[in-house]
Symmetry: C2
Subunit: 310 residues, 2 copies
């Protein structure tokens, strides 16, 4: 079953301790769709300017991504420029030019309105709702957001949250949204706002999945050479939604697997600048890394009564 | 098989956002031995002053802990005073009075020299060696250390490390010891210094186990009400060594289980001030929490070829 993703397609200029790239392909919808494309059909709803390089269009087409919903408008493409500190945990935004993205008002094509899976990337919660309202209710709606919307458009964000199934945010956003420093209490509170499932991205510390009945603690892959963390969170969401759409399941076991596939895609994404490494994988490589995650986290249950053994 | 632990027994004054306690029982050897006592016999080698309250002696005896190696000297017991910030991640030491601990020079009793398991708590690396040299080579020697020894007695610490099997430290100490910001590269380097196994404690983010053949990523328990983090790391080490000594095994599967038992004991330890909660458990409670850890981290392996399913 196919996925529709709404979000940014951008040109990124990125500097990390290990190198520098200018005007490379970026944006949440880009990383998400490339990651998801290994699992299922995915269509992008986004906007670019008339300066958007043809090679990037070719890249999407080569990955089998449906870009019929990628609007081209007069003007320049959304540009983001950022720099990472030595430990890659601190990111400084040097410049943001919204350009054509400033007036982005997604209008869905008829063929997109009946997609079964929808990912609402990190955009104005009002726009997120306008997309959802144009659709025949999808089977699963997931959503991202960020500190800006939590702080400045809280009421609107709460409306959006009341309409979605799965929220995928990071730990700082979790605490901010719930206004609660304890992550586990914060998560429980967010599950009362609408989403039946919450996934918390913790970067190098892995991810957490919460639903009404259980918590799942997912590891991160021990990547020794992180070149560029940009897009890791969106690659994670793409792998997660991609697996759910491909399997058609949404029970606890499927969700746990999906979180691991998300972590797999994030671990590949950070190994090179932009979506270079992410776009250059084979499915056996993805499966093989899944198995490495399995070995990383595996331990035996205790069968008998240990005390009686003494 | 029994464990010998060498380290501090102290009187702690602790302030957290959730309360305050004065002159309660503390110290690395205390938390370690209480946690380990649920699994196997454990003996303490430490020193206290003539002010050490009789009720604490009774507490150790009640837990079945061998305190024949707990020396009493003229003077006051080691005192530590500290305060935790709102998120419990920042700790400020307000006062340290070494007192009788300043001249601690452990002399082992004959009955302790042939113990099979030895834990060298966080003391001067020279003292750690002097203890090890007094023993018939134990089956397993584990060791803790801290930033102070890494910075000021590096050569002596390296000598100690060359003689031990298992190093148990936190993530900051790992990076500092290897002088390498990437945790995984740092871990690999430390395994060339002597220890065949390294366990990295990451507090609320869980723990990592490294040996020559694999990495194990252990979760932390989602404790919603942490009252006092003091002693969590030593409780962790106590549970870990306790399980290893009780099982007699030291293969990868046993080590992974041991790390989980360590995490179990740490999760109980932080639920109250001092070793109150830690000292008041039953073994079924410990086993039940182990199973909760298992459920927390469990996900299915992928059996078939997912690509072929599409």
């Amino acid at each position: 079953m196919g996925i529709l993703v709404v979000g940014s397609v951008a040109l990124d200029s990125v500097k990390t301790p290990f190198g520098e790239r200018e005007d490379i392909l970026g944006g949440a919808a880009t990383y998400f769709s490339v990651a998801a494309s290994y699992f299922t059909d995915v269509g992008i709803v986004a906007v670019v300017g008339d300066d958007f390089p043809e090679q990037h269009v070719s890249f999407f087409l080569r990955k089998g991504i449906d870009i019929s919903g990628l609007q081209r408008q007069k003007g320049n493409t959304f540009r983001w420029k950022g720099e990472y500190g030595f430990d890659l945990n601190t990111r400084t935004t040097l410049d943001t030019q919204l350009n054509v993205f400033a007036d982005f008002s997604p209008r869905l094509l008829a063929l997109h309105r009946s997609q079964d899976y929808l990912f609402l990337g990190n955009i104005d919660p009002e726009l997120q709702r306008s997309v959802l309202e144009q659709m025949k209710r999808p089977k699963l709606v997931a959503c991202d957001t960020m500190d800006y919307w939590i702080q400045n458009t809280r009421e609107s964000l709460l409306k959006t949250l009341s309409m979605i199934d799965l929220l995928i945010i990071n730990d700082a956003e979790t605490r901010q949204l719930a206004d609660e420093p304890n992550l586990f209490r914060a998560a429980r509170q967010i599950l009362t706002l609408g989403p039946k499932m919450l996934v918390i991205k913790r970067g190098e510390y892995g991810a957490l999945l919460f639903n009404s009945s259980s918590i799942f603690w997912a590891p991160a892959f021990p990547v020794e050479d992180v070149l560029d963390p940009t897009g890791a969170g969106d690659s994670f969401a793409g792998g997660l939604m991609g697996y759910l759409a491909a399997s058609g399941a949404c029970d606890d076991a499927a969700l746990r697997k999906a979180v691991i596939f998300g972590s797999v895609m994030a671990s590949f994404s950070v190994m090179n600048f932009g979506p270079e490494k992410l776009g250059d994988l084979t499915f056996p490589e993805i499966e093989s890394r899944y198995r490495e995650f399995y070995k990383l986290a595996f331990f035996e249950d205790i069968a008998g009564n240990l005390l009686e053994e003494r």
